[in-house]
């Protein structure tokens, strides 16, 4: 059986500034609307929302694997990149960047990295959480729409 080659990716848009961190790559092959949520596990995406403070959020990274955390703040900045969602702990390691944040079958954002900050102004230690660009920002920065079966955007066209 002939084996299909790996898709060729070409970068069309890349933004990393005070609005967020996101990029859009065009693939030479049609991609399925699924994300990897753990080793050997994939789910189809059926919607999206920007998480709020206190929400449980999950991610998968090809370096550290799957984890779920709780959102503790929104619109955080790291080294000039703003608009980031900040979670309550961090297990991320190199290779995780660009991985999906999700909850169930809902897309929530794209992983960036980690952020340390004092919990209180008088704290001597810091807390480290993970940061990601929320999905609404990803789509607006890249000029893209999320296409899925149940409620396709009018701009989603099968090719």
């Amino acid at each position: 059986m002939a084996q299909r080659g790996l898709p060729q990716l070409s970068r069309r848009v890349a933004v990393n500034d005070n609005r967020g961190d996101a990029a859009f790559y065009r693939s030479s092959q049609m991609m399925a609307g699924i994300i990897r949520t753990d080793w050997g596990h994939y789910v189809g995406i059926h919607g999206r929302y920007n998480p709020s403070i206190g929400a449980t959020v999950c991610r998968f990274g090809v370096a550290s694997g799957a984890t779920c955390q709780v959102v503790i703040d929104l619109n955080r900045c790291t080294a000039g990149t703003c608009g980031l969602v900040w979670t309550d702990r961090s297990v991320t390691i190199p290779g995780d960047s660009g991985g999906p944040w999700f909850y169930g079958t809902y897309a929530l954002g794209i992983h960036k990295g980690w952020l340390d900050e004092k919990q209180y102004w008088y704290s001597t230690s810091t807390r480290r959480g993970e940061v990601f660009t929320p999905i609404g920002t990803v789509l607006s920065l890249t000029g893209t729409v999320l296409c899925y079966d149940e409620a396709p955007d009018p701009k989603c066209v099968a090719r």
């Binding site: 000039g80 990149t81 990295g113």
Partner: protein, 139 residues
């Protein structure tokens, strides 16, 4: 018992006060630039220790004609890196990052990414590039 600030100031030598301060200033200045002056490899550094991007970058440690540290990418080409200053140091043929010494030609894998804020304590030794850098994250 003496209370702080109430010891006899007349007996306090000015030299005893200023010598440690001068030492600290000189120590700080020495730490502002990593490499180059003493024949060690030059490396661009930054001072962002409170956040990091977790893209994986791998390659062989290499040095350009000016003595600046860069990464030789497996797909071809080179990539200059900016390391978190207090976790990086160099000798004439190696870079130590996060406690591990890498000799020129040795495989190196780091986490990092581009930065929207390129002025975050960036220190660029003479002859090294100040743009197009990947910012290595602190461990």
């Amino acid at each position: 018992m003496q209370i702080w600030g109430r010891s006899n100031p007349a007996n306090t030598s000015r030299a005893s006060v200023w010598t440690p301060l001068l030492f600290l200033v000189l120590l700080g200045m020495a730490g502002c630039s990593t490499g180059g002056a003493d024949g060690s490899l030059k490396v661009v550094t930054h001072t962002n220790y409170s956040s990091g991007t977790m893209a994986l970058l791998s390659g062989k440690l290499a040095v350009d004609s000016a003595g600046c540290v860069m990464l030789q990418l497996p797909q071809g080409g080179n990539q200059y890196l900016a390391f978190p200053r207090k976790f990086a140091s160099t000798t004439s043929d190696s870079l130590t990052f996060a406690g591990h010494a890498y000799r020129v030609g040795e495989e190196l894998s780091v986490g990092g990414g581009g930065s929207a804020d390129r002025a975050d304590g960036l220190d660029v030794p003479s002859g090294c590039p100040s743009s197009g850098l990947i910012f290595v994250s602190a461990p």
